[in-house]
């Protein structure tokens, strides 16, 4: 099957003006500005097939939003190639944007003063959505996202979760083939998050919409996405299924020991290298152990370990290739 999204060797460096302290330095800066280069996206490649739903995860400043901006055509890459649905986004922006839907969780595109429904109406005219399809989509979406009670309220009176649901609907009313959601669950409570996850999942399953979903929240990824791309410091450090990471981690165990003298200790070991029986034997022979607990590896802690370099994914990647 053909690739919907193709990203090859993409780089984006920001030039940041350095500010120095003191009057003399400030005056000097007026004439001779010094710049620092920030490698926001540093040689990233991936491809995504039609109908895939891919989670982008990475710590703050990893380059997720920058990647989404390049994919949606509002930022030129400094190097590399991007092709989405047959378009080069940043070169053919005007025709291209009709085919995509984008939500930046941090920046609403709704009209603050108007009731939510009127922002939706505007979308109908902006995207020239046929009346029938508009009504169908609106009815379906407001049912799925439970929006009936606040659809007639001005956007400025909405809670963050309600506003975010509004933003998502506004960017999907024209039934785009490709959707980019940049942190659509940021700052939301569990219920609102769950609604959005179900909705995104539904759009992917019924419409075969190709979706990229960025988040900090591993739960989002587990519940919504088939595939996971981890980026950190502008580099892609993992690209594969969630299962794969978990399986790999199934071998890495953490146990908590409660010693006779009341002290607690934790030990991490790899059971594919040292069998469990050997570990236990040596532990019991070395220490006076009162109690022992085996800790589950939560996906959250796995990811934390990956960011912090406690687990190197190279061998994982190598295994797959």
């Amino acid at each position: 099957m053909e690739n919907m999204i193709e990203v090859r060797d993409v780089k984006k460096y920001y030039k940041i003006a350095k500010r120095e302290k003191g009057m003399a330095a400030a005056a000097g800066n007026l004439f001779n500005r010094k710049y620092e280069t920030k490698r926001a996206v540093d040689d990233i490649s991936f491809s995504i097939k039609k109908g895939e739903i891919v989670g982008f995860i990475g710590p703050n400043g990893a380059g997720k939003s920058t990647t989404v901006k390049i994919l949606s055509g509002i930022l030129y890459p400094d190097a590399g190639e991007v092709k989405v649905g047959g378009f080069i986004p940043y070169k053919q922006r005007k025709q291209y944007v009709k085919n995509i839907g984008v939500v930046f969780g941090q920046k609403s595109q709704l009209n603050w003063d108007l009731p939510l429904i009127e922002s939706f109406e505007l979308m109908k005219f902006i995207y020239k959505i046929p009346q029938k399809k508009y009504e169908e989509n609106l009815r379906l979406f407001s049912k799925l996202l439970d929006m009936e009670e606040f659809i007639n309220q001005p956007v400025r009176q909405l809670s963050l979760g309600q506003r975010m649901r509004g933003d998502i609907v506004a960017s999907l009313l024209h039934s785009p083939e490709i959707v980019f959601l940049d942190e659509p669950t940021i700052g939301l409570d569990v219920v609102a998050k769950e609604r959005i996850r179900e909705f995104v999942r539904y759009m992917n399953e019924t419409e075969r919409t190709t979706i990229i979903f960025t988040t900090h929240d591993m739960q989002d990824i587990e519940k919504v996405c088939d595939r996971l791309i981890i980026i950190d410091k502008g580099k892609k450090i993992y690209d594969g299924s969630i299962e794969e990471i978990k399986n790999r981690y199934a071998n890495i165990k953490t146990i908590e020991l409660l010693l006779e003298d009341g002290r607690k200790e934790t030990k991490t070991f790899d059971v594919s290298k040292t069998p469990m029986s050997v570990v236990m034997e040596s532990l019991f022979s070395e220490k006076n152990i009162k109690d022992i607990t085996l800790c589950e590896s939560e996906i959250d802690s796995i990811i934390r370990d990956i960011y912090e370099g406690r687990v190197i994914l190279d061998d994982l990647e190598a295994e797959r290739n």
């Binding site: 055509g73 509002i74 609403s108 009209n111 003063d113 108007l114 902006i126 995207y127």
Partner: protein
């Protein structure tokens, strides 16, 4: 096309939601006009005319220039705010022209203020003083056309300065200076008839004369036939020139944003 009409209508409706603004707008416009009329009535005293210009003509000039300039007032920091908080990029995600969208919204607001601020204020003014009646139906029609063209000139000047926010930290100061220039050079402080000859000559080669003074002169019947057509042509010429400049600045600014990322 339909989308732009909707932008204007939505803005119009949006303005209707604020009752207090609505009331204050009438009072504000009426007071501005009446203050000027009082001053000029005192200056005229018992004189029938000054330099061949009657008090009624001056009053008509102020009703049109001040009434319209109040109605044509809108948030000129809009683009700067959008660039500063980064939400300008949202605009590039929609398959519509941002320039035309902003123009449509500002026109929607202007239309609201003409109907709900200017016309009531005009009613109040007529109770106070006698204005010149329109010269002819054709003249009235030509004046409406000329007001629209004048609005576009005013809007483009403002938009050009707004686009400088792509490079400058704040354009507030420049906008303020621009507004002072517009009120002096377009005749909303001192009617252009009374400007010194030399200054008048300079103003006549700037776009400022075309904003309010051309509609005023058409209304009063000072411009007729070829002169009227010429005045409209000059307005259109300014729209073309300013439009090209505005577009060039906008394109450059957008380019800077998409290349550098803000």
């Amino acid at each position: 096309m339909r989308a732009y009409l909707e932008f204007a209508i939505k803005k119009f409706q949006d303005k209707m939601a604020y009752r207090l603004d609505f009331f204050m707008g009438i009072v504000n416009t009426a007071i501005t006009i009446l203050v000027y009329l009082c001053i000029y009535r005192a200056l005229y005293g018992n004189a029938a005319d000054v330099d061949g210009i009657s008090y009624s003509m001056v009053a008509t000039n102020f009703v049109i220039t001040l009434g319209l300039s109040n109605a044509f007032h809108y948030n000129e920091m809009f683009l700067q705010d959008k660039i500063r908080d980064g939400s300008i990029t949202n605009e590039f995600l929609k398959p519509v022209s941002f320039i035309l969208r902003l123009l449509s919204e500002n026109i929607g607001e202007g239309a609201f203020k003409i109907i709900f601020h200017f016309l009531p204020a005009l009613g109040i003014t007529i109770l106070y003083t006698k204005l010149c009646p329109p010269e002819s139906v054709l003249g009235l029609f030509a004046m409406f056309l000329s007001v629209v063209l004048g609005y576009l000139i005013l809007w483009l000047i403002s938009f050009i300065i707004q686009t400088w926010s792509f490079w400058l930290f704040s354009v507030w100061g420049i906008i303020t200076i621009k507004n002072v220039f517009v009120s002096i050079l377009s005749g909303s402080l001192l009617p252009l008839w009374f400007m010194p000859e030399a200054l008048r000559g300079i103003i006549s080669v700037t776009p400022f004369e075309s904003i309010y003074f051309t509609p005023v002169r058409i209304y009063l019947g000072e411009l007729e036939g070829m002169e009227l057509l010429w005045a409209l042509a000059v307005q259109i010429m300014w729209i073309a020139v300013l439009g090209l400049i505005a577009n060039a600045f906008w394109k450059k600014g957008v380019k800077k944003l998409v290349v550098q990322g803000g």
